[in-house]
């Protein structure tokens, strides 16, 4: 009769965990539980000890099978080819430590199926359903009728990453009260992600002076200069901003 309680006490491992590990390892290696416990406690060499690996000689892909030290793996430790000035340390000897990773005999199908179900449900709830057009609520549509030039400007707005600092999203909250009309669901503006700079939803209606707007894009005030744009591209960007009203 295997005395797990004493062994657990000696090894400093919870008894239930030790019992599970020993039973699994004993079954895998075809050895007795007592024998295995004695080896783990340092009494004798590990039964069914793993073959030692030639250092640096066996690429993993050429060696089929399983790690001899099974479970958590790891394995026989072999000295690696060390630098000339530092000779490799001797191969460790002494008692083999018990495995510290503790698993449960189970299939992974449940994890795969469960996590996949959660993923698809999450995508459905967080993105697909809320993004669907809301029929029957005509007033909800707020697509801007941008000109071709403005649409080109919107492309440039996206490429320059303007949405990293500017939003075009006016929420129904006090903080946004002075910005303009609240943004509705079908907007084809660029919502943006943070307001390092001001919101640009209705900037065309707030700033009459196109020259001043162009100067801002060229680096006036604290706005960084938008570099690498031709005059045409800059004009398109300005058209987009002007039409965002």
């Amino acid at each position: 009769m295997t005395d797990y309680a004493t062994a657990a006490n000696t090894l400093g491992v919870p008894e239930a965990i030790l019992r599970r590990s020993v039973e699994a390892r004993a079954k895998a290696d075809g050895v007795g539980a007592d024998e295995l416990l004695a080896a783990w406690a340092g009494g004798e060499a590990m039964p069914a000890a793993a073959p030692s690996a030639p250092a640096t000689s066996a690429p993993p892909e050429t060696a089929p099978g399983v790690p001899a030290e099974a479970a958590p793996a790891a394995a026989p430790v072999a000295p690696v080819a060390a630098p000339a000035e530092a000779p490799p340390p001797p191969r460790p000897t002494g008692p083999v430590a018990p495995p510290v990773l503790v698993g449960v005999n189970q299939r992974t199908n449940g994890v795969i199926a469960g996590s996949s179900a959660i993923l698809f449900l999450s995508i459905l709830l967080a993105f697909v359903v809320p993004s669907l057009p809301q029929p029957g609520t005509g007033v909800r549509s707020s697509n801007h009728a941008y000109s071709q030039g403005a649409l080109e400007g919107q492309e440039i707005y996206l490429e320059q990453g303007c949405g990293s600092c500017h939003t075009q999203l006016i929420r129904a909250v006090v903080a946004d009260a002075k910005l303009g009309p609240v943004t509705l669901s079908d907007s084809n503006q660029v919502f943006g992600y943070r307001r390092v700079g001001p919101d640009l939803s209705a900037i065309g209606g707030r700033t009459e002076d196109s020259a001043a707007l162009a100067n801002v894009l060229r680096g006036a005030g604290t706005h960084p200069a938008v570099t690498g744009l031709s005059d045409e591209s800059l004009a398109s960007l300005l058209t987009y901003l002007r039409e965002s009203a």
């Binding site: 919870p14 895998a28 030692s52 690996a53 250092a55 066996a58 690429p59 993993p60 060696a63 089929p64 099978g65 790690p67 099974a70 479970a71 958590p72 394995a75 026989p76 430790v77 072999a78 000295p79 490799p88 340390p89 510290v100 990773l101 503790v102 698993g103 449960v104 992974t108 996590s115 996949s116 999450s122 967080a126 993105f127 809320p130 993004s131 707005y157 490429e159 990453g161 949405g163 600092c165 999203l169 909250v173 002075k178 079908d186 907007s187 919502f191 992600y193 943070r194 307001r195 390092v196 700079g197 001001p198 919101d199 707030r206 707007l213 100067n215 801002v216 005030g221 604290t222 960084p224």
Partner: protein, 458 residues
């Protein structure tokens, strides 16, 4: 170097070292982005271009390759089967590095599509989708040849990370959506990428290295189960709430608020479990940077998740939505992931290359922890104060002129974001230090025993 190529774990080794290089590049680019945000016009590139460039280097270069390395390292050890498709993974690595470099250059040249977090144009989405799917094939094939009957918590996280990422990327980059669809899909992908791929896989790696290094069995499998499923339920809901009171349906905010609460639950469960595992070895933790990094990393993730969950309540979300608050949450969680990645790398590198990491790891843990908490909380404060300022309508002038400068209009937020930038330099120092510890181990680390996976004939 010859030894490195000949021994096992070649894919894990090569991906890990490639990831360390991207970590250094990404950290410097992120610092440049923070500078451009606080001082617009100081650098030739704007924040709008530098931020996605930094996210590409950190997200696709560091995290996808680095946590891919973690998966390739863990799989053979947890399944008892050799890593499948290892040769193909090794051959694909130069191409993957090229894709990340090209993506950075294209966004830097102003050819991105402006979508968060990577801003990649549609014609680059396909190769990047391949990059995000790189762990899927090897994971599933290795799993199909599983020799080990036991399933470990680390395997859950690795499995789900490999499975979810390509699907999330696809959902997060669909073309021809409405403005609302784009905003929601970007929020979904950003949150999923951070919480499932980054936090999930890094936590899974911590569940492997902490028992290994501490010599203690995992304290509580049930707690690990709570941590895993809570993370899965809460993963994508972070950030959706910042569009609250916008054109999204009312019910979405409610669901996001409730399910978002699962994130801190996951963080608390995982952190508690790791702490309990270390247990009585706690007094000796100073001598074990792996344990210290794992615990600090998980705590930072928990703090970030807690703030994100609090911001999910409507009253809070309308206050801090669209502010730097969310940038602070990202900094907190990414710093935590950096620490968890450090814990994995410092345990794995000696086993992979037979050389030990040096003692500078202690300093790296300190810099990442202090830098992460400091920068994150200061940005959170900056976001909060600007939100209060807008709601108080005290700075309405800033709404009305485009040239006045938004951050100048909300003075206190500007002070906090300036302080955050100063602390961010310290954090960057820690992130570069983390990359250097990995390289120094390879070039000048003291020789140590190397772990070689030995397989028995079947």
């Amino acid at each position: 170097m010859r030894a490195l190529l000949l021994t096992s774990d070649t894919a894990a080794t090569r991906y890990l070292f490639a990831a360390a290089a991207w970590l250094a590049i990404g950290s410097l680019t992120w610092l440049a982005a923070m500078l451009a945000m606080r001082f617009p016009g100081l650098l030739p590139l704007t924040f709008g271009r530098l931020r996605p460039m930094a996210m590409i280097a950190l997200g696709l270069g560091w995290l996808v390759l680095g946590l891919g390395a973690a998966i390739f390292y863990l799989l053979p050890r947890l399944t008892g089967a050799p890593l499948a498709l290892e040769k193909q993974l090794n051959r694909a690595l130069p191409l993957l590095i090229l894709i990340v470099a090209a993506a950075m250059a294209i966004v830097g040249l102003g050819l991105g599509d402006g979508r968060e977090p990577f801003a990649l144009p549609w014609w680059l989405d396909l190769p990047v989708l391949g990059l995000t799917a790189l762990a899927l094939g090897p994971t599933m094939l290795t799993l199909s040849k599983r020799q080990e009957g036991m399933v470990y918590p680390s395997l859950w996280f690795a499995l789900v990370g490999a499975l979810w990422l390509p699907v999330l990327y696809l959902a997060g980059n669909l073309p021809r959506l409405s403005a609302l669809g784009i905003a929601l899909s970007d929020a979904l992908f950003s949150a999923g990428f951070l919480n499932v791929w980054a936090v999930g896989v890094a936590t899974g790696a911590a569940y492997y290295v902490v028992p290994k290094v501490s010599g203690q069995p995992l304290a509580n499998r049930q707690l690990a189960r709570v941590g895993f499923w809570s993370l899965a339920f809460g993963a994508v809901w972070m950030g959706v709430s910042q569009f609250a009171a916008g054109p999204q349906p009312e019910w979405l905010g409610g669901i996001a608020g409730v399910l978002g609460l699962a994130l801190p639950v996951a963080g608390l469960a995982n952190t508690t479990n790791l702490a309990m595992t270390i247990g009585q070895k706690w007094p000796a933790i100073g001598a074990q940077p792996v344990l210290k990094a794992a615990l600090a990393g998980s705590s930072l993730v928990t703090l970030g998740s807690l703030l994100a969950a609090l911001a999910g309540f409507r009253s809070a979300s309308v206050l801090v939505g669209l502010t730097l608050f969310w940038e602070g949450v990202w900094v907190l969680i990414l710093s935590g992931v950096a620490l968890l990645f450090g814990a994995f790398a410092w345990q794995a590198v000696p086993n992979l290359v037979g050389r030990s990491v040096d003692r500078s790891t202690h300093q790296v843990v300190k810099r990442l922890s202090i830098g992460g908490v400091g920068t994150g909380l200061l940005l959170v404060l900056a976001g909060y104060t600007s939100g209060v300022a807008w709601s108080g309508a005290g700075f309405s002038g800033a709404f009305e002129t485009t040239g006045a400068g938004w951050s100048a209009g909300v003075g206190l937020a500007g002070i906090f974001s300036g302080l955050a930038l100063a602390v961010f330099v310290y954090l960057t120092w820690g992130m570069i230090g983390l990359a250097l510890t990995i390289y120094r181990a390879l070039t000048s680390g003291k020789a140590t025993v190397q772990e070689v996976l030995v397989v028995k004939q079947t």
